[in-house]
């Protein structure tokens, strides 16, 4: 009779084991580090990053080589280098005091907000890919494929953006929906493969990333597809004016409507996860698939649905970048948005609000990094280092606890009784 159960994963012991492993890792990410630890991790990364900036500066290094002749000078120079870099970063990401002063003397008021605008612009795709990874996390799945789903969304949004002609607002909406759909198809494929065959989503998403990169390369080199006619480079035509996201203030990289799309997606996802039956099901499946199954939930269907949504969000991220700052698709457009999304979801502990905050932090680091590179000799690569350090510290709460001598949050003793013969 019911030998044709949906998917061999149903009740299979190995499926159960991987689900439990996933759950362990996911709960470690979601609940492992309290907010304090996150903040301390950022602080520790900033301090370590400062040391790195100081000691990669030739002037500072020279001063240290003559340390015993003039120790004060060595410290002062190191401090100057690090603080100078961070000040430049702050001015590029949050606010530059010079523009405020200028505004009082008849300068542009809009210029005051330029750094913040850049931060928001940089944060937009990270919010969307971060949400994509986060929602999958909550259902117990690792979406390593936000990069490929981003490409899927970008391809569809780009094609709709230059190949069709529609009235103003409609064209934009069609392009955004197309971007969502383009990513959703890729995500759905992953979920469907997992539900039907038990294929692990990590493997499938990683492989799909390569497939999507190569598909993008193929389409961009095919004039009948996405390549701009008469071009030999991998580049698409410019988008139609109606398909572009309206900008606040000046030209890109100032913030555009995409930021609001990202915020709206975060709010929607918050509602879905905490206030809807669908989110209840996702969370139950993520926290304990066996209990979810026993309670009558369709675990496999949840996987498919959550991957479809995750793909859609990453695809929307692709659309937001193309329709916003880039306005045409090239082979390098995908950048590191997909993988930064994993970092953002991790730092934001897979909650929508956390993702938005983490994405804004990373957006600020990128915006500030660009300014820092222009204003000082410090390469903007230091931003990548800072991101890496933050994640390293967040992922290793015991390290942070040891560094700052924090007590474990939970009362010691009751549960963590060691057992064994020779401890």
């Amino acid at each position: 009779m019911s030998a044709e159960q949906p998917g061999p994963a149903a009740g299979g012991p190995s499926a159960r084991r991987t689900a439990t492993l996933n759950h362990t890792i996911v709960s470690a990410i979601v609940e492992g580090s309290p907010t304090v630890v996150t903040f301390l991790a950022i602080l520790a990364a900033v301090v370590l990053g400062g040391l790195l900036i100081a000691f990669s500066d030739p002037t500072v290094l020279h001063a240290w080589s003559t340390f015993f002749a003039d120790p004060g000078n060595a410290f002062a120079l190191a401090w100057d280098a690090a603080s100078g870099a961070y000040v430049a970063m702050f001015e590029g990401a949050i606010v530059n005091p010079h523009t405020v002063a200028a505004a009082f003397h008849g300068g542009s008021v809009g210029a005051i907000f330029y750094p913040l605008s850049q931060t928001a612009s940089n944060a937009t795709p990270l919010i969307l890919t971060g949400l994509s990874v986060a929602i999958a996390f909550r259902a117990g799945l690792f979406n390593i494929g936000a990069a490929g789903q981003w490409v899927g969304g970008a391809i569809v949004a780009t094609y709709l953006g230059f190949a069709v002609n529609l009235p103003p607002v409609v064209h934009l909406i069609v392009c955004l929906l197309g971007g969502f759909a383009g990513g959703a198809v890729i995500g759905w494929l992953v979920g469907e493969l997992k539900a039907r065959t038990g294929a692990h989503e990590v493997i499938v998403t990683i492989m799909l990333n390569y497939i999507m990169y190569n598909l993008l390369s193929f389409l961009l080199s095919t004039p009948t597809a996405l390549q701009e006619p008469g071009q030999s480079n991998l580049i698409s035509p410019n988008l139609a004016a109606n398909a572009r996201l309206p900008h606040a203030g000046g030209p890109p990289p100032q913030v555009d409507l995409g930021f609001l799309v990202g915020i709206a997606a975060a709010v929607g996802l918050w509602w879905l996860l905490s206030r809807s039956t669908v989110g209840f099901q996702f969370r139950a499946v993520g926290a304990n698939p066996s209990a979810a199954r026993s309670a009558g939930m369709d675990v496999e269907r949840s996987w498919v649905l959550v991957m479809l949504l995750a793909g859609g969000l990453a695809g929307l991220g692709g659309a937001a970048v193309i329709l916003g700052p880039l306005q045409q698709l090239t082979f390098n457009s995908y950048g590191t948005y997909g993988f930064d999304g994993i970092t953002v979801a991790l730092l934001g502990r897979a909650s929508p609000l956390g993702v938005v905050l983490a994405a804004l932090l990373f957006g600020a680091l990128h915006a500030g990094g660009t300014n820092m590179e222009a204003a000082t000799q410090v390469p903007s690569d230091i931003v990548e280092v800072l991101q890496g350090l933050i994640v390293l510290f967040v992922a290793a709460p015991p390290l942070i606890r040891a560094m700052f001598r924090l007590r474990r949050a939970r009362a010691a003793g009751l549960e963590a009784v060691p057992k064994g013969w020779n401890p």
Binding site: S276, L414, W421
Partner: protein, 543 residues
């Protein structure tokens, strides 16, 4: 060796786990430590074994005060411990496991394997442990693994053995073996501290029973003390050990299982052509030693496991091809065997777990929007009604005690209007008070006209609840019996002997008169097969 603990006090924050506990264990004595889950038994033993440092009190060995700061100190003081969860390396042999941490070496640092083998064999023979030193631990049944743990303590020359809930993982037969070994050890002059919350077991094996409640010693009793007296001491009030229930008034057939076959591993069916009917207002108890297909049967009945053949009808409606959700909707309530793995989402709040299988129905949802107020109200009233001890309904269920977790599941399942209630090992690991509570609720469901199936490996539980007993052995139902059947006969059926053969319906289980009354097929006389059967069933069964 005489062991004395005086004034042991251990506090965890505001919780006093041990409150001035005095305990003296004489040489050659089996001392039972009886108490509910969370009474402080394990904490006390962790103090003794150096895993936890006491805030007050002292430990004396043969009159001399010893300080035990780590298990190493405890081993040096000749105290050995067998934990609930074994500390063995599965891919090592018994001899290797036993010598781990105290390896003897020959010249050039080579392991002296032969000596390790010889020592294990010697101990095994002396105490009748029957352990092969060359067997790999992963291949051994749980009961034998436990004996390996005991050998480990003996190799370290322990005079006092602490056994922490040793029977919770054993079948009745293995329990009887363990008791035999414990008596041998006692005869060898060693003393044993036996931790348990099962009355029958401490009565069967202990020389003296110390009862602990809320961290305090509330009494010492000889093993001749009655069940009721011990239970009352343990819980702090009079407890009904056997829920009072009126004779069943079975109505129409409500749950009809026909020829159910579930494929198992190695081509042998896990459930083999099982058929039974349960009437409304009747409890069918499915008895059997763990691992004879009960788990697979329950999962197949819920649609959680694919079946090869057979049909399942609820109130005449065929649910055989339905998904778990539809079966729940069709009126089956399910209390799974493993409450933490299958019954609850541990990270979810009590409130969320109370709606885990109805979260998408009115009044808890409208459309896809959850109605948080309704979920909250439901939780508050259920927690009060079912006496779930939790600080709030927002508390994650993983932090509740086993008894309270089970109450959450029972509250959820009986809260729906059920036609059938399927409960697998509903009181496993629960203390006396919680068992009473869960049993009372199950009988209540029966009296409301629900067809109830209880799957249990505890004969006590089967006797307490069942209006009719089915016995499962190797995936088959070997017989139906009335609840008046002797424990000997049930034990025989559970061991696969004396069954009704291939015709499980031969005893006419559907005739309420036969089911409730005398069954001519139930011999009370001595039976040759009964002599070989481990007589733990007698200890567990009716007085």
């Amino acid at each position: 060796m005489k062991l004395e603990l005086t004034g042991i006090t251990k506090r965890f924050g505001s919780l006093v786990a041990n409150d001035h506990i005095d305990l003296t264990v004489e040489p050659g004595e089996i001392r039972a430590l009886l108490g509910e889950n969370g009474a402080g038994k394990t904490t006390l033993m962790n103090v003794l074994y150096g895993l936890v440092q006491p805030d007050e009190g002292e430990i004396r060995v043969d009159g001399k005060v010893v300080t035990i700061r780590s298990p190493k100190d405890a081993i040096a003081a000749k105290i050995g411990m067998v934990h609930q969860h074994f500390m063995l390396v599965p891919v090592f042999t018994v001899a290797e496991n036993v010598t781990l941490g105290m390896e003897r070496t020959k010249a050039l640092g080579l392991l002296d394997r032969r000596r390790a083998r010889r020592d294990v064999l010697a101990l095994s023979e002396r105490y009748g442990l029957d352990v092969n030193p060359d067997a790999y631990v992963e291949d051994l049944p749980v009961g034998v693994q436990q004996r390996v743990e005991i050998i480990k303590t003996l190799m370290r020359e322990a005079s006092v053995l602490v056994l922490d809930e040793p029977t919770s993982v054993l079948t009745p037969g293995e329990t009887e073996d363990l008791f035999r070994i414990m008596r041998e050890l006692r005869a060898g002059g060693r003393s044993i501290v036996f931790i348990s919350h099962k009355l029958k077991e401490v009565q069967a094996i202990a020389d003296t029973i110390t009862v602990i409640r809320r961290g305090k010693v509330v009494g010492e009793r000889p093993p001749t003390a009655t069940d009721a007296e011990l239970a009352a001491l343990m819980v702090g009030r009079a407890v009904q050990l056997r829920v009072s229930k009126t004779p069943a008034h079975p109505g129409d057939v409500m749950f009809d299982v026909r020829g159910l076959t579930v494929p198992g591993e190695h081509g042998k069916p896990a459930v083999d052509d099982v058929s039974f009917e349960v009437r409304a207002g009747e409890i069918l108890g499915v008895a059997g030693v763990q691992g004879n297909g009960q788990t697979e049967l329950c999962e197949a009945l819920m649609g959680l496991r694919p079946t090869a053949a057979g049909s399942v009808l609820v109130g005449g409606r065929d649910v055989s091809n339905m998904a778990p959700r539809e079966r729940l909707r069709a009126g089956i309530g399910y209390i799974p065997e493993d409450r933490q793995e299958d019954g609850l989402v541990g990270d979810f709040s009590v409130a969320d777990n109370l709606v885990l299988d109805v979260y998408d129905r009115k009044p808890f949802a409208s459309g896809i929007a959850l109605n948080l107020d309704a979920i909250q109200d439901n939780a508050v009233s259920r927690v009060a009604e079912f006496d779930v001890r939790t600080s709030s309904v927002a508390t994650p269920t993983s932090t509740l005690s086993g008894g309270n977790q089970q109450k959450v599941i029972v509250a959820r399942e009986v809260g729906r209007h059920l036609k059938v209630l399927l409960a697998s090992q509903p009181t496993r690991g629960l203390d006396v008070g919680s068992i009473e509570f869960v049993h009372r609720r199950i009988v209540e469901q029966r009296d409301q006209g629900v067809a109830v199936v209880i799957v249990s490996s505890e004969l006590d539980e089967i006797y307490a609840l069942a209006d009719r007993i089915a016995v499962m052995y190797e995936g088959k139902i070997t017989g139906f019996r009335p609840p008046t059947v002797s424990a000997d006969e049930l034990g025989m059926l559970m061991a696969g002997a004396g069954g009704d053969g291939a015709a499980p319906d031969a005893a006419d289980p559907l005739d309420p008169a036969a089911a409730g009354g005398l069954d001519p097929a139930a011999p009370d006389g001595p039976d040759p097969a009964g002599a070989e059967r481990p007589d733990s069933a007698a200890a567990d069964g009716q007085p």
